[in-house]
C-alpha cells in the first residue's frame, strides 16, 4: 500500500511539474515584452512613418482620431497648440509640460504597462537616454516629413528629428554688470563668486546635465584654460580630471535650483536674489523682451556654450499618428517654412535647423565658443557622472 501511495504521489508530482513547465513556456511565449514588440511591429506598419501624405491628407485622417497628447519640455508648445487648433479646426491637442528625465521615465513606464497614452514627444537628448532607451529599442520613432527633409541642416534629421537648436550657456546679470564680467571659466572658482552663481540641479535638468558632462568630457581644454588663467599648470591628482577639479571648486560658489526658469529669475528679475552668473538654456533669452535683465556670454575660454538640440519624435503605439505627423509638419513650419508653428521657436537663443530659414539668434553658432553635445560619451559615462554629481550635491545643496 505504501508503494501504491508513493506511486500516486510521484505521478502527481510529475503531472504538476509538467503543468508548471507548460505554463511557464506559455508565459514566455506570451510575455509582455515579446507581446509588446509584436504590437510595435504592427503599429510601425500601420503608422507608415515614411509615407508621403500631404498636410491636407493628414488633416482629413486626423479628424477621425482623438485628442493628440504631447509630452513636452517646452512650454512654448502651448502657443503652438493654440495656433494649430485654429489652423486645423476639429483637432485638439493636450500638452503635458514635464522635465526631460521624467519624460523618459514616463514613456518607459507607459511602454511596460502597454499604455500608449502619449503621441508625440518634444525633448532634448542631453544624456543619451532618449536615444539609447527609447529610440533604439523602438519606443519612440522619428518622423521626418518627406518634403521637408531636403531643407534640413546636416545632422538634424538623422536618427532623431531636431526642430530647434538651443544651447546651455553662461549668462550674466545686466543689473549688476555693464559688460561680460568673466573671460575664463576658472574665474568662477574665485571667492567673490561665492553664492553668486545659480544653475539647475544637473541630476534633474536634462540640459544642465548635458552641459556639466560636456565640461567634464573636455578636460584637456579645461586644463589649458587653467594655465592661461593662473600662469601655472593645473596639478591633477591621480584618478582625477581637470573637469572634475573645476566642478569641485566651482560648485562651492553655486546655488542650485530646479530649472532654467528659476535661474532666469535669479539673474534677471527685480526680486530674484541678485545672482551674478547663471547657467541656463538659451531659449530663455526670449524673456529679455519681458524685461528680464540678463545677457549671454558668447566668448569664454575654453567654452561658454553646449549645443543641445530639441527633438520631436512620435511615441510608438500612438493612436493619433496622423495628428502627430501633422503636428510635426506644423512645428517645422510646413513645407516652405512659413507655417505659424515654428514662430514661437524663432526667438533669441534659438538657431534654425532648416537651410531655408535664418537663425533667430543674432549671433550665429560659429561665433560662439560652443561645443556639440556628445550623446555617446554621455550615455557611456552616465553612472560615473551621476555618482560624481550626487557626491557634489550632497555637500553643496542649500540646507
Amino acid at each position: 500500500m505504501n508503494k501504491e501511495w508513493n506511486m500516486i504521489s510521484r505521478k502527481g508530482i510529475m503531472i504538476l511539474c509538467m503543468m508548471l513547465m507548460i505554463g511557464l513556456t506559455g508565459c514566455a511565449d506570451n510575455g509582455p515584452d515579446s507581446r509588446r514588440v509584436k504590437e510595435m511591429e504592427q503599429w510601425v506598419q500601420t503608422a507608415n512613418l515614411s509615407g508621403t501624405e500631404s498636410a491636407e491628407e493628414l488633416y482629413q485622417a486626423a479628424l477621425e482620431e482623438d485628442t493628440l497628447v504631447i509630452y513636452s519640455v517646452s512650454s512654448r508648445v502651448f502657443d503652438v497648440k493654440d495656433t494649430f487648433e485654429k489652423e486645423y479646426p476639429g483637432l485638439t491637442v493636450e500638452v503635458k509640460d514635464i522635465r526631460g528625465d521624467d519624460i523618459v521615465n514616463k514613456l518607459l513606464d507607459n511602454y511596460e504597462k502597454g499604455e500608449f497614452c502619449c503621441d508625440l514627444v518634444i525633448c532634448s537628448d542631453c544624456d543619451g537616454r532618449l536615444n539609447k532607451e527609447l529610440l533604439e529599442p523602438g519606443i519612440l520613432y522619428p518622423y521626418i516629413p518627406w518634403d521637408i527633409a531636403p531643407q534640413m541642416k546636416e545632422g538634424h534629421a538623422d536618427r532623431e528629428l531636431v526642430f530647434v537648436g538651443e544651447a546651455l550657456m553662461f549668462f550674466y546679470n545686466e543689473g549688476v554688470f555693464d559688460k561680460q564680467p568673466i573671460s575664463n571659466i576658472w574665474e568662477l572658482t574665485e571667492e567673490q563668486y561665492k553664492n553668486r552663481i545659480i544653475m539647475a540641479n544637473p541630476l534633474s535638468s536634462f540640459s544642465t546635465y548635458g552641459f556639466c558632462t560636456a565640461v567634464l568630457s573636455e578636460s584637456d581644454k579645461i586644463a589649458e584654460a587653467y594655465e592661461e588663467y593662473s600662469g601655472d599648470a593645473l596639478v591633477i591628482p591621480e584618478g582625477k580630471t581637470a573637469g572634475e577639479i573645476f566642478w569641485e571648486q566651482a560648485v562651492k560658489n553655486i546655488v542650485f535650483t530646479n530649472s532654467s526658469d528659476e535661474v532666469m529669475e535669479g539673474i534677471g528679475s527685480a526680486g530674484g536674489g541678485g545672482y551674478w552668473i547663471g547657467i541656463m538654456i538659451s531659449s530663455k533669452m526670449r524673456y529679455q523682451e519681458l524685461g528680464y535683465h540678463f545677457a549671454p556670454i558668447y566668448r569664454l575660454n575654453p567654452l561658454s556654450t553646449v549645443y543641445t538640440p530639441n527633438t520631436v519624435t512620435i511615441a510608438g503605439g500612438s493612436k493619433n499618428v496622423n495628428a502627430a505627423k501633422l503636428f510635426v509638419r506644423y512645428l517645422l513650419g510646413e513645407t516652405d517654412g512659413t507655417g505659424e508653428g515654428i514662430v514661437p521657436f524663432r526667438t533669441e537663443g534659438t538657431w534654425s535647423v532648416r537651410m531655408d530659414i535664418p537663425d533667430a539668434n543674432s549671433v550665429p553658432l560659429s561665433e560662439i565658443d560652443c561645443i556639440p553635445i556628445n550623446e555617446e560619451y554621455l550615455y557611456e559615462n552616465m553612472d560615473t557622472m551621476s555618482e560624481f554629481w550626487k557626491e557634489l550635491l550632497k555637500e553643496n545643496v542649500t540646507p
Partner: protein, 517 residues
C-alpha cells in the same frame, strides 16, 4: 489496506484540525471587531477622495487606535444647516466633524457662538502633557498659538494649518504674460510702469477677439490677498492689513501707516487707476469661486490679479492657463519702498467634537493622533514607499533647498484613496511641507508658488517681529480689531465714493480711524 485507512484517517483528522483552528481565529476576530468602539465622523465629500471608509489613511488610523472609524457625509449645499442640526441632535450620532482644508464651512463667529452655547466639547479634559496637541502648542510660538486656538482657556477644535513658505506670504501679483508678449510690454517694476501696462491692456485688445472685454486688473473685497490695491500700496509705505496697517516710524514706534502722506499718495494712485478703468470694481463683491471662473474663462479677459497661491485663482488641472500668468515681484515706489506682507501661520478648524458625542475621548484620541508627524505625512503624501519616500541628500525641494520628501506618485489634486485631500486635523512640520521635491511638471502649482514666493521673501518687513512681541501684542490686536473702519475708508477712496484729493475728506478719514489724535 489497513495502512491506507490509517493514512486516510490521519489526513481527515489533520483537515478537521485546520478547519477548527481557522474557525476559532475567524470567530475570535469577529468578536474582537464587534467589541471595537465605533467612532463616527462627519465629513464633506471630496471629488478627489474615492472613499473615506476604505481610505488608506482611515485604515492606518484604525490600526493605530484600535477603533472602528465610520464616516457620514455632510449634506452638500446644506452644510451649515447640517452642522447646526447635528450639534442639536440626539446624543451619539456623530463623534467628530472634519472640515475641508482652506474652505471653512463655519465662520469664526459661528464657531465661537457654538462654543458659547455649550454645543462643542472642550478638549482640555483630554489633553495630557505628552499628547500631540500639547506638543503643537509648545512648538509654534507658544503665546500666539495658544491664543489662537483657545477660547478662555478651553480648546474646541484641533487645527489644520498650512506650514509652507507660500503661506507666509500674504499676496502675489500674477500678470498675463500672453498679453505682455502680444503687446511687446515688459514686466512692470514700479506703480507707474504698472499703470502703463494696464492702460495698454485696456485699450489694445490683447486677447484679440475684437471686443473691449479686457479687465486689466481685478480686485475682490472678500479677503486682503485678493484686494490688488494692497499690493500697489506696498510700493508707497509698508501696508500690512493683517496687522492693522501698522509700521515702525523713524523713532522706532509702532504707528498707523494709513495716516501717513505716503499712504495717501498710494491711495491717490489707486483711485486714479480705478477712474481710468484699470482697476475694475465689478468683481469686488464676487465670491472667490466666481472670481476663479473669470480668470479660468477661455475668453482670456483678465490682465492681472493678486492671490496668495496661484491655485486660489486658477484650477490646478489647467496647464495652459497656468502657463499664461507669471508673478511680478513687489513693485518699487519712487522713494525705494518695496514691501511684501509676511503672515503668521493661521490655523483653521480641522476637526471638532460635538458636545453630544457618545465617544468624545476616542474622537480626541483619533484627532490627536492625526497631529503626529507620521500621520501628517500620510495625510499629506499618502503611503510611504508607495507614494513617497524620504529624500536622499542632494535632492532639491520646490524651494531649491535640501529636499526631505520625494514624491513617487504625485497624488495632490488627483483622485486617490490614500488620504483625505487635506481635510481634518493636519499640521505638517514646515521642514517637511517645504521640503518636497518637484515632480518636473512646469504647471505644478506648488512649484509655481514656490518660485513666486522666493521673489517676495527678500521684501518682507524687517521689523515684523514687533507685531508678535508680547509687549506690543495688545496694541497690535487693538489695531486689528479697529481695522474694519479703515478697510471701509480705503475702499471708498479707491472706488470713488470719497475724494482722496480733498483735504477735508482725508481729515475726516483720519479722525474715523484714529479718533484719539
Amino acid at each position: 489496506m489497513k495502512q491506507l485507512l490509517k493514512n486516510k484517517f490521519i489526513s481527515v483528522l489533520l483537515i478537521c484540525a485546520v478547519v477548527a483552528i481557522i474557525s476559532y481565529l475567524y470567530i475570535n476576530r469577529q468578536q474582537q471587531e464587534d467589541k471595537r468602539t465605533i467612532v463616527t465622523i462627519a465629513v464633506r465629500q471630496d471629488d478627489n477622495v474615492q472613499n473615506f471608509d476604505t481610505n488608506y489613511y482611515t485604515k492606518w488610523l484604525e490600526d493605530q487606535t484600535g477603533y472602528d472609524i465610520r464616516f457620514e457625509y455632510i449634506s452638500e449645499g446644506y452644510e451649515k444647516e447640517y452642522l447646526y442640526a447635528m450639534l442639536n441632535s440626539e446624543r451619539g450620532r456623530i463623534d467628530a466633524v472634519f472640515l475641508p482644508e482652506e474652505e471653512s464651512l463655519l465662520t469664526e463667529e459661528e464657531f465661537s457662538n457654538y462654543a458659547g452655547e455649550g454645543l462643542l466639547y472642550d478638549m482640555k479634559e483630554c489633553m495630557t502633557e505628552d499628547c500631540h496637541f500639547t506638543a503643537l502648542l509648545e512648538q509654534y510660538d507658544s503665546i500666539s498659538m495658544r491664543e489662537k486656538l483657545s477660547e478662555d482657556g478651553s480648546f474646541y477644535y484641533i487645527p489644520n494649518m498650512d506650514t509652507t513658505r507660500k503661506n507666509r506670504n500674504m499676496q502675489v501679483m500674477w500678470i498675463n504674460m500672453g498679453w505682455l508678449k502680444e503687446l511687446g510690454l515688459k514686466l512692470p517694476e514700479t506703480p507707474e510702469e504698472l499703470c502703463t501696462v494696464l492702460l495698454a491692456f485696456r485699450g489694445s485688445d490683447p486677447n484679440g477677439n475684437g471686443l473691449s472685454d479686457e479687465l486689466p486688473l481685478i480686485s475682490c473685497e472678500s479677503s486682503y490677498e485678493l484686494q490688488s490695491y494692497n499690493f500697489i500700496l506696498n510700493a508707497y509705505i509698508y501696508n500690512d492689513p493683517l496687522h492693522g496697517r501698522l509700521y515702525v516710524d523713524e523713532n522706532g514706534n509702532l504707528t498707523s501707516a494709513v495716516t501717513e502722506p505716503a499712504f495717501r499718495e498710494g491711495l491717490r494712485v489707486c483711485a486714479n487707476m480705478y477712474a481710468q478703468g484699470l482697476l475694475t470694481e465689478e468683481c469686488n463683491h464676487y465670491s472667490k469661486r466666481q472670481l476663479m471662473e473669470l480668470v479660468n474663462s477661455p475668453l482670456d479677459c483678465v490682465g492681472a490679479f493678486t492671490s496668495q497661491s496661484i491655485a486660489d485663482m486658477i484650477y490646478p488641472n489647467c496647464p495652459d492657463i497656468l502657463a499664461r500668468f507669471i508673478q511680478i515681484p513687489p513693485l518699487t515706489g519712487a522713494t525705494g519702498e518695496q514691501n511684501a506682507v509676511y503672515c503668521d501661520y493661521e490655523p483653521s478648524v480641522g476637526g471638532y467634537i460635538p458636545a453630544n458625542s457618545a465617544h468624545p475621548r476616542e474622537a480626541f484620541e483619533i484627532m490627536d493622533l492625526m497631529l503626529s508627524e507620521e500621520a501628517a505625512l500620510v495625510a499629506s503624501f499618502g503611503e510611504e514607499n508607495e507614494d513617497w519616500k524620504f529624500s536622499e541628500s542632494g535632492d532639491l525641494s520646490t524651494y531649491s533647498s535640501q529636499a526631505m520628501i520625494t514624491t513617487l506618485q504625485y497624488i495632490t489634486d488627483t483622485v486617490q484613496n490614500k488620504h483625505y485631500a487635506g481635510a481634518g486635523p493636519l499640521v505638517l512640520s514646515a521642514e517637511h511641507a517645504n521640503g518636497v521635491t518637484w515632480n518636473g511638471n512646469n504647471s505644478l502649482v506648488e512649484y509655481l508658488d514656490a518660485r513666486a514666493v522666493r521673489s517676495y521673501e527678500g521684501c518682507y518687513y524687517e521689523d515684523r517681529e514687533l507685531f508678535t512681541s508680547e509687549e506690543r501684542l495688545t496694541y497690535v490686536q487693538e489695531a486689528i480689531d479697529a481695522s474694519e473702519q479703515t478697510d471701509k475708508g480705503i475702499s471708498q477712496f479707491i472706488f470713488g465714493e470719497r475724494d482722496i484729493t480733498s483735504d477735508e475728506e482725508w481729515a475726516d478719514f483720519q479722525n474715523e480711524v484714529n479718533p484719539s489724535e
